[in-house]
């Protein structure tokens, strides 16, 4: 991966002074990347990270107004309503990190899926969560997985969480204003210990102890803020993560389905459980009834 900001040798092989066609190529470059009616810009299909933009004056504004992925009913005027709506959370405690998510995906008022995997396993020591536009999250995090693997191959060691989250944040930054919707948490355990970063579609990148992201995050924060302590045992932490997601799915229409929970330890992530939140509802109701009876 090329990090350099300086000028690279701009002549491609064959485009030197001996090449008769070089003047034509130079003129084409001068006309600008968008091209014009006589010679439209070359389509670069299939290149990673290259996207066709709408052939309008201000592609950023067009994407923002017509392809936005917004909460609630903000996208009613659009022909395509993107899949979104979620609750995800992650918190650091003394024995690692708990990552807990729901699995519902909505398109407007339609529940398009109840079994979305909102946790992506980037590598055995890195997990990413997905909130916001399902396609955006899914694509860019898989892309991040590819970059992390390339880093490993090139440098002979695993990428740090700080660097992985930075790569994602830089990509988001470069597409700022184009209407991407992604709120993710990149978490892992590297040589500096357990790390948790929040990365967002406008390029925000925050390091923190706990975050909750998504339409149901407010409800999850309520439970998290009440029950969080750094010295929770592993079981207590799992219970806290489960409960927070349950309460969010109970109140937020756009969250529901199954609670997937993972625990990040120094030996990598461990899958803990995938519990239907309806079952949790009856379980907690039972507990409450028993508590009241005694």
């Amino acid at each position: 991966m090329d990090f350099a900001f300086g000028p690279e040798p701009c002549m491609a092989i064959g485009h030197d002074i001996l090449d008769i066609g070089s003047r034509k190529a130079q003129a084409k470059r001068q006309r600008g990347a968008l091209g014009d009616a006589m010679s439209p810009a070359p389509l670069e299909l299939g290149m990673p990270g290259q996207f066709d933009l709408p052939n309008v004056e201000d592609p950023a504004r067009y994407c923002r107004t017509n392809f936005a992925s917004v909460c609630g009913t903000g996208d009613e005027h659009q022909a395509v309503k993107f899949a979104k709506g979620t609750t995800t959370l992650a918190f650091k405690f003394n024995d690692g990190i708990i990552i807990s998510v729901d699995s519902r995906s909505t398109m407007g008022n339609y529940i398009s899926s109840g079994t979305v995997q909102k946790i992506i396993k980037i590598n055995p020591f890195l997990l990413g969560t997905m909130a916001g536009g399902a396609a955006d999250c899914s694509f860019w995090e898989r892309n991040l997985g590819m970059e992390c693997r390339l880093y490993e191959l090139r440098n002979g060691r695993r990428i740090t969480v700080a660097a992985a989250s930075k790569l994602l944040a830089n990509v988001m930054s470069s597409y700022r204003g184009y209407g991407l919707s992604m709120g993710t948490m990149v978490t892992g355990w590297d040589e500096t210990g357990p790390q948790l970063y929040y990365v967002d579609d406008d390029g925000t990148r925050l390091k923190g102890r706990y975050f909750s992201v998504g339409s149901g995050s407010m409800y999850a924060y309520g439970v998290l803020d009440t029950g969080y302590k750094p010295d929770l045992t592993v079981d207590e932490a799992i219970e806290l993560g489960t409960r927070a997601i349950y309460h969010a799915t109970h109140r937020d229409a756009a969250s529901g389905g199954i609670n997937n929970l993972y625990h990040m330890t120094k030996d990598g992530w461990k899958f803990i459980h995938a519990v239907d939140v309806n079952d949790l509802h009856y379980k907690y109701a039972e507990e409450k009834k028993n508590a009241m009876a005694t």
């Binding site: 690279e8 040798p9 002549m11 064959g14 030197d16």
Partner: protein, 253 residues
């Protein structure tokens, strides 16, 4: 037909003549010796005589490219300046993106990649520079251990325990180092060995050498002229003794 005209052409026997000519340019440069010890890497360069009116402080042959990495080069100074600048920018870019120090291994790879790019494009010529890099973080199991890397105009890079680049006598100096080198040298022994090697090609005296040590953890230490002088005197005294003993033995037998 001449095959050395354009860089992008192989000769019939598989040589890239321009690349080999650039290695010749490196041979015309001044000598650089690098020695790796147990907890340090020593870089020693030959300082060619400076004109009377020139300010010696502006001629620096061992440069910092990052907080914990230094580079010494042999060959065309102007080419080296351009390469060093690219490497410095890349090191900062790495820091910005990865929030961490670039390892000496990463810097060596980047430098080698740039040098190779200029051997495979139209209209450019290779850099006439070979460099020795000393820095840390190249070894996963021991990130504070300083390591020695070499790059050359062809764009290869490799790690060395002791290496010489530049100067007409690089080959014989390398043989000298092979004979004298052994594992786990102390810092003092490393400096000594580097100076000994340089003394084979330069006039005696501290004014003709510049020595830099990278210690464990990446600390850079420039050896002062006085210290270099002291070591040179020691080495010369020893050599005199050896010679004396040799002639003495010849006389008696």
């Amino acid at each position: 037909m001449s095959y050395d005209r354009a860089i992008t052409v192989f000769s019939p026997d598989g040589h890239l003549l321009q690349v080999e000519y650039s290695m010749e340019a490196v041979r015309r440069g001044s000598t650089v010796v690098g020695v790796q010890g147990k907890d340090c890497v020593v870089l020693a360069v030959e300082k060619k005589a400076i004109a009377k009116l020139q300010d010696a402080r502006t001629i620096r042959k061992i440069v910092s490219v990052d907080e914990r990495t230094v580079l010494a080069f042999a060959g065309l100074t102007a080419d080296a300046r351009v390469l060093i600048n690219k490497v410095r920018v890349e090191a900062q870019s790495y820091r910005l993106t990865m929030e961490d120090d670039p390892s000496v291994d990463y810097i060596g790879r980047y430098l080698a990649r740039v040098q190779q790019q200029y051997t495979q494009q139209g209209g450019v010529r290779p850099f006439g520079v070979a460099s020795l890099l000393a820095g840390v973080a190249g070894d996963q199991s021991d990130p504070d251990k300083p390591l020695l890397y070499q790059t050359d105009p062809a764009g290869t890079h490799s790690r060395w325990k002791a290496q010489v680049v530049g100067g007409r006598n690089a080959k014989s100096l390398r043989e000298f180092l092979e004979k004298q080198y052994h594992e786990d040298l102390t810092e003092e022994a490393c400096v000594r060995l580097a100076i000994q090697a340089l003394l084979e090609v330069v006039d005696s005296g501290a004014k003709t050498m510049e020595i830099c040590v990278i210690q464990r953890g990446g600390k850079k230490v420039n050896i002062s002229e006085a210290q270099v002088d002291a070591v040179v005197k020691e080495i010369e005294a020893e050599q005199q003794e050896e010679k004396g003993r040799g002639t003495g033995a010849a006389a008696t037998s």
